[in-house]
């Protein structure tokens, strides 16, 4: 496409807004992979499950997306806690995380994706609300509400998780799990319980991200694969366990993708996140905010 500054500025604004949503997807990976050392590649599967739950809620009960978040995110939290219990019992306890655990998550990813195909089919599904249809614009820059709402909710969620982890006792035990499990035991906290709660939060954020996704665009089951790359690229680029890093990396990826889409076309955009991931792994595996 012909180069012009209007396009560049529009792409950067779109990218920043998109980045806020990406942060909501990646925060769960930052918690699970970065802090708990659980390589949950099934995270995008939980996200897509959230998107289809929102679709189902909207079709069946006429749920507004925010009602869907209020109903399904707590269920996701409880599911995540139970899921971690099972994962701990079968893999962490045996010390089988690396090979069997990875294959396990890969299998879960696959089961969720095919399960959704079997239930809902491969057609694109979407939800609409009147307030999502309008667009706000300043000068030549315009942003639709269906992008702005996920951006704001994503940032809000990131902020709440950050405050929870840094200000509450349970939150701090979660941060401590990634650093020194023995010291945590000495102060009388249970590391398994901390990890269980943290994984519950990670799954709940995935469900919220899914609802946000179906606000932004129509979804279909195989969309998970693109988001594995995005979530892990952001997590690694951000320094794996850093929440501010996650935000900065999300914005970088969002802008990079928006510029690529504007000037080279949307068919190149999946390569951006994976390219960024490979480059980070090669040149700076510690990430920009890494220790």
């Amino acid at each position: 496409m012909e180069f012009s500054w209007d396009l560049v500025i529009n792409a950067i604004v779109t990218g920043v807004v998109l980045g806020g949503f990406y942060a909501s997807v990646a925060i769960g990976v930052t918690i699970a992979f970065g802090m708990l050392d659980i390589v949950n590649i099934a995270h995008p599967a939980f996200m897509i499950a959230g998107a289809y739950l929102a679709f189902w809620g909207s079709e069946k009960f006429g749920f507004d997306p925010f009602v869907s978040i209020a109903v399904f995110a707590p269920s996701g939290y409880l599911f995540g806690r139970a899921f971690y219990r099972a994962y701990h019992f079968f893999f962490e306890r045996r010390g089988d995380e690396s090979l069997q655990g990875l294959a396990f998550f890969f299998g879960i990813l696959f089961i969720v994706e095919i399960g959704i195909v079997l239930i809902f089919g491969v057609d694109y599904r979407s939800i609409t609300q009147p307030y999502l249809e309008s667009t706000i614009g300043v000068g030549f820059v315009s942003v639709p509400w269906r992008m702005l709402v996920p951006f704001l909710v994503g940032l809000g969620m990131l902020g709440s998780v950050y405050l929870y982890l840094s200000r509450t006792f349970t939150g701090r035990t979660i941060l401590a799990v990634s650093q020194d499990v023995e010291a945590l035991r000495l102060i009388g906290a249970n590391p398994i319980r901390a990890k269980e709660i943290a994984f519950g939060i990670a799954v709940a954020t995935a469900i919220v991200a899914g609802v946000l996704l179906i606000i932004i665009q129509p979804v279909e089951p195989s969309i998970t694969r693109e988001y594995i790359g995005r979530a892990f690229a952001i997590c690694v680029l951000g320094g794996i366990a850093s929440i501010p890093g996650t935000l900065v990396a999300s914005l970088i990826l969002g802008v990079a993708e928006a510029l690529t889409t504007t000037f080279y076309g949307p068919s190149w955009s999946p390569a951006v996140s994976f390219g960024l991931l490979l480059l980070t792994l090669i040149f700076r595996p510690a990430g920009i905010f890494g220790r």
Binding site: F91, S98, Q100, A103, F104, F106, G107, E113, V236, L281
Partner: protein, 333 residues
């Protein structure tokens, strides 16, 4: 790196194991019998059975190749479909610019996929194992995006491939493909067996159990992992090379199919990852089950079942069918 290389020769002398070459000979003999049977039965077998057999043999190659790095070394490769597709598209590109017999195309495919494996490994195998896994996932998607945007090889729309005429000794092209794939499967299994019994396999097993300890005791871990990644990638590429002639129409969605990535991980894990025959057992069991299910139910449902089996096996029976059989034998004694 140089310190590792110096201590390597000690590993080159594995303890003599009695009856070692007998197993290798047995694999080759079984293979020759199967080859002869395919040639003799010839036109008495329907086309469908050839195509079904081809798919199962292809998965024996992919599962075995995956297991060389994943099972022996403990490094999970999620990008099997990427290496497989490199094989497919090598054939397609060669067909367009410089047509040659399929056997040579397979060798070029092996070289290309092997080099890609070596490169990916060189860049990411110094990091923790998970990073390699994530990078292989990334590699497959980057390659797919490149192919989708490359109109010379058909882009997203795909490309038709015309089967060449088949030479006199074969009754049909399908039979030729089965014979070829059977040969490749035997080759792959013999390679896996040889690796498992050699100093490479012993070193890889040490890496899988405790990489830091292995490195301290002189195992050249990076070199061994690179050898395994290259061999594994090359075999996957070889398995992909005849695929365009098998389907006659290739598009990125088929060549990079999720079914390939999932099956090549599920089959070794269901069969058992510690031995060369685990992936073979897994590929035959899962492969034939899928052929039957695809006919009787639907292809989406059978992939669902593969996923469920994978999860059930890694949680309940982490040693796979091989482990179950061994436990059962021990119980009877």
């Amino acid at each position: 790196m140089s310190g590792q290389a110096l201590s390597a020769p000690e590993l080159r002398k594995p303890a003599p194991v009695s009856g070692r070459s007998r197993t290798g000979l047995a694999i080759v003999l079984i293979g020759v019998v199967l080859l002869a049977a395919t040639m003799v039965l010839g036109s008495h077998i329907g086309e469908y059975y050839y195509l079904a057999t081809y798919t199962i043999l292809q998965f024996i190659v992919l599962g075995t190749a995956w297991n060389i790095l994943g099972g022996y070394g403990g490094y999970v490769n999620f990008g099997t479909a990427g290496f497989f597709a490199i094989g497919c598209y090598t054939t397609i590109i060669l067909n367009k610019i410089f047509p040659m017999p399929l056997l040579f195309e397979m060798l070029v495919a092996a070289a290309t996929a092997g080099v890609v494996g070596l490169g990916t490994g060189y860049l990411t195998l110094r990091l923790r194992g998970v990073f390699f896994s994530i990078a292989t996932l990334a590699l497959a998607i980057v390659l797919q995006t490149l192919i989708v945007n490359w109109s010379f090889v058909g882009g997203a729309r795909g490309v038709y491939v015309i089967r060449p005429a088949v030479s006199g000794i074969f009754v049909s092209y399908a039979q030729f493909l089965v014979v070829l794939m059977l040969g490749l499967a035997i080759f792959a299994v013999v390679v896996a067996w040889a690796v498992e019994k050699s100093w490479i396999g012993i070193g890889l097993a040490a890496i899988r159990d405790d990489e830091a300890a292995a490195e301290t005791s002189g195992v050249p871990s990076l070199r061994l992992k690179l050898i395994a990644t290259t061999m594994s990638g090359a075999l996957m590429g070889m398995a992909g090379a005849p695929f365009p002639y098998y389907v006659t129409y290739v598009d990125p969605a088929t060549a990079f199919g999720l079914a390939i990535a999932v099956n090549s991980i599920a089959m070794p894990l269901v069969g058992g990852t510690a031995t060369w025959w685990g992936p073979v057992v897994g590929a035959i069991l899962l492969g034939s089950a899928q052929q039957i299910l695809t006919v009787t139910i639907s292809s989406a449902a059978n992939l669902f079942i593969v996923g469920v089996l994978l999860v059930v096996f890694v949680t309940v029976a982490p040693r796979g069918v091989v482990g179950i059989v061994r436990g059962w034998k021990r119980g009877r004694k």
